[in-house]
Amino acid sequence: MTRDMNKYLRDGLPGTRFCPGCGHGILMGAILRAVDRLDVALDDLLFVSGIGCAAWIPSPNIGTDTLHTLHGRALAFATGAKLANPKLTTIVASGDGDLTSIGGNHLIHSARRNLDVTVICANNLIYGMTGGQTASTTPVGARTSTDPDGNNFRPFDICNLVMASGARYAARFPVTRPKQLIDAIEKALRIEGFTFVEAVSPCPTQFGRRNSTAEISALYDSVDSQCISRAEAQTMDEDERLRHFVVGEFEP
């Protein structure tokens, strides 16, 4: 069954600005398909984003109210907008650097307050827009423009971070598994309170060409092959686990 997603797109758009092979287009499609399963009027939807490639998923592409904010501060803006008008279904869509590094404090405090928003974090493992610098989500050993010999620091486990901070639901899936991703976003949107979906959305331009391969399909295969279940993760030591993406749902 196909549905017309065009009604969610803003009039007069020239097309998205994403690089060829960027996962964010898939993620945008997943968000819209999840929203489409809800009974919410477009006028009651608010998308809030920060700065970076992922912040351009909603702004200007999605034809609802959109608030394209400052780097890191999407959740702080969303807090004011949602509290001042609680009838707004508020979705924060932004990148890993935006939400977990410069905006990390707002992320954990919004979860602590159980702010009634759904956060969708497009995790491309790197700073894309500024030229491939190391992020707080870059895997150990991955090469970046600021760590050409490989990153030495462990990445955040963002889902566990927000769950420990009080989130009601978190999930992690790669864009290579769109069905699970759509289901997870839908579930997050239906749960009242602070919910979080991390979409592993590899960046061919900045991450792929420095690491696995410049070939887009090979990059997607590589990411997908690193995905393991939480049960599988239990059997691994930390070093091995850090080379994988633990996918699935996290509930309190």
Binding site: R10, G12, L42, D43, D44, L46, V48, S59, P60, G63, T64, D65, T66, L67, H68, T69, L70, G72, R73, A76, F77, A78, T79, G80, A81, K82, L83, A84, N85, K87, L88, N105, H106, H109
Partner: protein, 378 residues
């Protein structure tokens, strides 16, 4: 503490300046406060917490000042008149978002209770060292509005005016108060004798553009069906990002400037004291203007023809008034609790000598030391 219950609208009561700010905000229709504790402004947030919760408004204590000002901007776009309050260190942290608020034409009121800086400085003692931050704290050209109260009554009256100007011009407005006025307790009348200005939500035109060179666009709220695109990047009238178009950027930056500068006659307020025959004039603002008025009276009693021009609006700067003052008097003295920030600005608008009485010891200026300073001038 007095005033947990609402007081009568005509009676003089004893209130602290900070509390009068909160009372005014509620009276003029503020429905959202986001803030973070900081001395010497915290009484404002405490009172706002009481008043907003009692009145179905929204009070939220955020995780830091960065978050506070951003929440205020978000709330303003959801249609609520919104405010935060802070002091110098918090104002420094808020600067990026203040530029955002200015560029997205978001009405809000920021109350700054200035303390002795820089850095942590002397948190409980007075300063006026943020005067340039209001105007020059943000990157890029910004032309916001800053009002300066000198009494508790003006903490009330100018907070109301700050909201009204903010709504009318869609611009962030500062209440540039200081610790001495914020913590002062005086007689105040919490009157309701004022006009309330609200942003225009509907009408012709786009939410981020105007055919007029100084025009203020309509501002629908989130949820009103406007499908708004709010962005801090350069944008066209509808809100589409236009980050490579030179003409759109220049047109936007220029219109935002003219929105306030073309209306200085409406925005700028000054008061004159004993200037008719004055030969020496103080040009002053905030608590320092009270020292100046006392000093001018003492100088008069000693036969010196002294007067005072007091700025109630410091940004946009009262350029015309300072030029006119320079033409009337032989000498101007600017007493201020910083190293001469406004003195330097005033010098740009008159050829008459402008002397700084710059005091940075965490205290307000004693009138006798101003008298002595004037008597010692050549």
């Amino acid at each position: 503490m007095a005033g947990r219950k609402r007081v009568a609208e005509t009676t003089e009561v004893l209130l602290q300046g900070n509390v009068a700010v909160a009372e005014a905000a509620i009276a003029v229709g503020c429905r959202f406060f986001g803030g973070y504790p900081i001395t010497p402004s915290s009484e404002i947030m405490v009172r706002m917490a009481e008043l907003l919760r009692a009145d179905d408004g929204v009070f939220i204590q955020m995780e830091d000042e960065l978050a506070s000002i951003c929440a205020v901007i978000g709330a303003s776009w959801s249609g609520a008149k919104s405010m935060t309050a802070t002091s110098g260190p918090g104002l420094s942290l808020m600067q990026e978002a203040l530029g955002y608020a200015y560029f997205t034409e978001t009405p809000l009121v920021l109350v700054d209770i200035q303390r002795a800086g820089p850095a942590t400085g002397q948190a409980t003692h007075v300063g006026q060292g943020d005067m340039m931050q209001f105007k020059y704290g943000s990157h890029g050209d910004v032309f916001p509005v800053a009002l300066v109260p000198w009494s508790v009554q003006e903490c009330y009256d100018l907070t109301i005016r700050a909201f009204n100007l903010s709504e009318k011009f869609r611009v962030p407005v500062f209440l540039a108060a200081d610790e001495a006025v914020g913590h002062l307790r005086e007689n105040v009348v919490l009157h309701r004798n004022f006009e309330v200005v609200d942003r225009i939500k509907e009408g012709a035109g786009d939410p981020f553009g105007s055919p007029l060179p100084d025009g203020v666009p309509i501002m629908p709220a989130f949820g009103d069906g406007g499908r708004l695109m709010v962005t801090g990047s350069t944008h066209d009238g509808r809100g589409f990002r236009k980050v490579d178009d030179p003409e759109i950027h220049d047109t936007l930056v220029t219109r935002l400037m003219r929105k306030t500068l073309d209306h200085v006659d409406e925005i700028v307020e000054v008061e004159e004291y004993m200037l008719d025959d004055a030969e020496i004039a103080f040009f002053a603002y905030g608590v320092s203007a009270r020292s100046a008025l006392a000093a001018a009276k003492r100088l008069r009693s000693k036969g010196v023809k002294a007067g005072l021009l007091r700025a109630l609006t410091i940004w946009p700067f009262p350029e015309k008034q300072v030029t006119q003052l320079g033409a009337r008097v032989k000498t101007i003295v600017v007493p201020e609790l910083n190293k001469g920030m406004i003195t330097g600005v005033a010098r740009g608008f008159t050829g008459t000598p402008v002397h700084a009485f710059a005091q940075t010891n965490g205290k307000i200026i004693e009138p006798d030391s101003l008298v002595k300073f004037v008597e010692g001038l050549p």
